[in-house]
């Protein structure tokens, strides 16, 4: 091959790549008379059951807010990208939101892993980021530009252990998923167990795609003096654990985490889910709340709206997105501006905000603003959630 052919070929290909690369820029070049907010969610991939309802919720409510006249007289423009649960993709997409789409704020990050990958970018760019993931590392230590809406995994452990304590159960077997969620919650539970007088007598794990957990559960069953089992994890794993648990005829109470707080868990686990307890937000039991419950209005409204629009049962994960968007909009209204730093300051001053997860009172040291009372202990009875009194 002569030099010329080679040069031509390389030039042709690189031109092609370059043209293609810059074509994407054109799509983002519309008029900017709008307030742009961004979101990177795990819409597909192993955490799609988080990202999918979050995506649907954000789109639905941004449309509603715009139909009602927008925020501070301007329309919202929502840009959503799918990270597929991959932290590296999330990071690139966050760069795109910040640099190319020039957003003023972000509501997103379905998982702790993707959130943590994006945090340094928002910190450097000084743009507020409201995360929808559970891990406590997101807000501890506090990062000035990072907030989150769901309860932390530590709070879930505390709520569960509180309930065990009340029932006089202290010897607990753990079976955790090895995904980010299960692994992180397992760590938190081990940390706080002692404070509640809980002894972990068995500590097993399973992979994110495992289909049979009977060997691990057999080992847990064989642990001396077992009184309860806790399963931190999300996705299909906990449903299989619940079924295997019933198959092995283990007679102690089974606790799941807030990671399975959606109706689909009951459907997947079937009859085996009877009697399972888990901590969750009021959203799942919206209609059972007493009328004087301060959260009732918010959760019933969100549940009705979501189910009417998408024709599927509501999950707490979509609720986290609702809370995030509403906290942001509230902050933008109070700030009276779409300047990222002004928005950040206003978010930090959020007090008395009633969301699906509970009452939010933020402060410079607390970028979540929820306490344990916002969690309800639920039990599955007759294929539905009931509130444990």
């Amino acid at each position: 091959m002569s030099l010329m052919t080679f040069l031509k070929a390389t030039a042709a290909t690189s031109a092609l790549v370059a043209v293609a690369a810059f074509a994407t820029g054109l799509t983002a070049g519309e008029a900017a008379a709008q307030i742009r907010i961004g979101s990177v969610l795990s819409i597909t991939g192993p955490a799609s059951f988080l990202g999918d309802p979050e995506d649907k919720t954000l789109r639905m409510y941004v449309d509603r807010i715009n139909a009602e006249g927008g925020v501070n007289g301007e329309q919202l423009e929502l840009i959503v990208y799918d990270s597929e649960g991959d932290a590296n993709k999330a990071r690139t997409l966050a760069t795109r939101l910040i640099e190319d789409d020039e957003i003023v704020a972000m509501v997103g990050g379905s998982t702790t892993g993707t959130t943590m990958a994006m945090v340094p970018l928002f910190e450097d760019a000084e743009i507020p980021f409201i995360s929808l993931a559970g891990g406590i590392v997101i807000i501890e230590p506090v990062n000035p530009f990072v907030f989150k809406t769901p309860h932390t995994d530590r709070m879930a452990c505390e709520k569960v252990f509180e309930d065990m304590q009340a029932r006089g159960l202290s010897r607990v077997g753990l079976i955790s998923g090895t995904g980010g969620f299960g692994k992180s919650m397992r760590g938190q539970c081990l940390n706080v167990a002692e404070a509640y007088g809980i002894e972990i007598v068995a500590d097993e794990t399973y992979g994110p795609r495992d289909t049979d957990m009977t060997p691990q559960l057999t080992n847990i069953r064989n642990a001396q003096g077992l009184q309860a089992v806790l399963n931190p994890g999300f996705g299909q794993g906990p449903a299989i654990v619940t079924k295997n648990f019933a198959q092995l005829g283990i007679e102690v109470p089974l606790y799941q985490s807030h990671g399975v707080a959606s109706k689909s868990f009951i459907e997947l686990a079937g009859a085996a889910a009877e009697g399972v307890r888990l901590p969750a937000s009021a959203l799942l039991v919206a209609n059972q709340l007493p009328d004087d419950d301060p959260q009732k209005q918010v959760v019933v409204d969100y549940k009705t709206a979501f189910e009417a629009e998408w024709n599927r049962p509501v999950s707490t994960f979509g609720g986290h997105a609702y809370d995030g968007l509403m906290i942001l909009v509230d902050a933008m209204r109070r700030a009276g501006s779409a300047d990222p730093v002004a928005i950040r300051d206003a978010i930090e001053e959020t007090t008395g905000f009633m969301g699906t997860a509970g009452e939010v009172n933020m402060s410079p040291d607390d970028h979540m603003g929820l306490d344990l009372t916002a969690f309800r202990m639920l039990e599955i009875r007759d294929g539905d959630w009931t509130i444990v009194q």
């Binding site: 819409i43 799609s48 399973y206 795609r209 085996a272």
Partner: protein, 290 residues
């Protein structure tokens, strides 16, 4: 003892599925020399189609049969549209075509169906059966029994029917098979249909236990491929033995060693076997042509 038995049941159930996936790899490999990485998607399609056909109103048995037929047609389409046009391409290129197909099918399932997990009801209830102190679900028996039936039927087909024998002949020498009047195109088409059909069947049998979703196939393809290699690529007996061994290794690893490293146990065994027997347990030990 009952603990061991419990681990064994777990391993055999999971292993039976790996075995069927490995058989699927074997059938297509023998007919076309292609390693079909979309094999796991056949299993996913079997489960997902059944779930959705029954949601759309078909009675469960009809939905299951329809799912097997649809998946076979997709297998045939894969051969016609992607494998045949690329005949003669490099092995690595062919692997990438099947990976492309697997990404495509996953994307298709996500658009046509949805991104949620789904289940099917167990075929004969959920009451566990007690065997010497260990418990077994009726569905596990369905999976193991189904796998056994598939193996026997395939064995009969390949060794006792003329058409089955002609497929085997093609796998040994395509040119010679053509010369003796075997319709090689038909052989290829049958192999893909058959492989997709047993994959779909496995998917239907196992969904009541494992649940399914659009991306359930990737892991199965990985484990099935590992099983086929462990047994020796191209050997149906090897595929079955390999599948069961991988399943049992995982269950025993999870039970006795460490649940975090149970997958590692299976892969370490495979690496160990390959270092000693470079063509797997039952693989052909041929010499390379120059």
């Amino acid at each position: 003892m009952e603990t061991f038995l419990q681990f064994l049941f777990s391993g055999l159930t999971v292993g039976a599925v790996y075995a069927i996936v490995a058989l699927g790899f074997t059938i297509i490999y023998n007919a076309s020399d292609v390693i079909n990485f979309a094999q796991g998607e056949f299993v996913m399609l079997g489960g997902m189609c059944t779930v959705f056909f029954s949601l759309w109103g078909l009675p469960l048995p009809v939905a299951a049969v329809a799912a097997v037929i649809v998946t076979s047609l997709i297998g045939v389409a894969l051969n016609k549209l992607a494998i045949e046009p690329a005949r003669g391409a490099n092995v690595v290129t062919l692997i990438i075509i099947t990976i492309g197909a697997s990404i495509f099918l996953r994307g298709l399932a996500q658009v046509v169906f949805d991104k949620q997990f789904h289940r099917l009801p167990s075929f004969s209830g959920d009451a566990p059966i007690d065997v010497l102190g260990a418990t077994l679900t009726p569905q596990s028996l369905w999976v193991m029994g189904g796998a056994a039936v598939i193996v026997v039927v395939l064995w009969y087909f390949f060794t006792r029917t003329t058409f089955g024998k002609s497929i085997l002949a093609t796998s040994h020498n395509r040119l010679a098979a053509r010369l003796v009047g075997i319709n090689v195109e038909l052989v290829l088409l049958t192999s893909f249909a058959l492989s997709a059909a047993i994959g779909a069947l496995a998917g239907i049998l196992v969904t009541p236990i494992t649940l399914t979703s659009f991306d359930a196939g990737t892991m199965l393809a990985l484990k099935g491929f590992a099983a086929a290699i462990l047994g020796g690529m191209g050997n149906p007996l090897g595929a079955v033995v390999g599948g069961l061994l991988v399943g049992i290794a995982e269950a025993m690893g999870a039970g006795y060693l460490s649940s975090e490293y149970k997958d590692a146990v299976a892969f370490v065994i495979i690496l160990g076997v390959l270092f000693v027997l470079p063509s797997g347990l039952f693989g052909r030990r041929g010499t390379e042509r120059v």
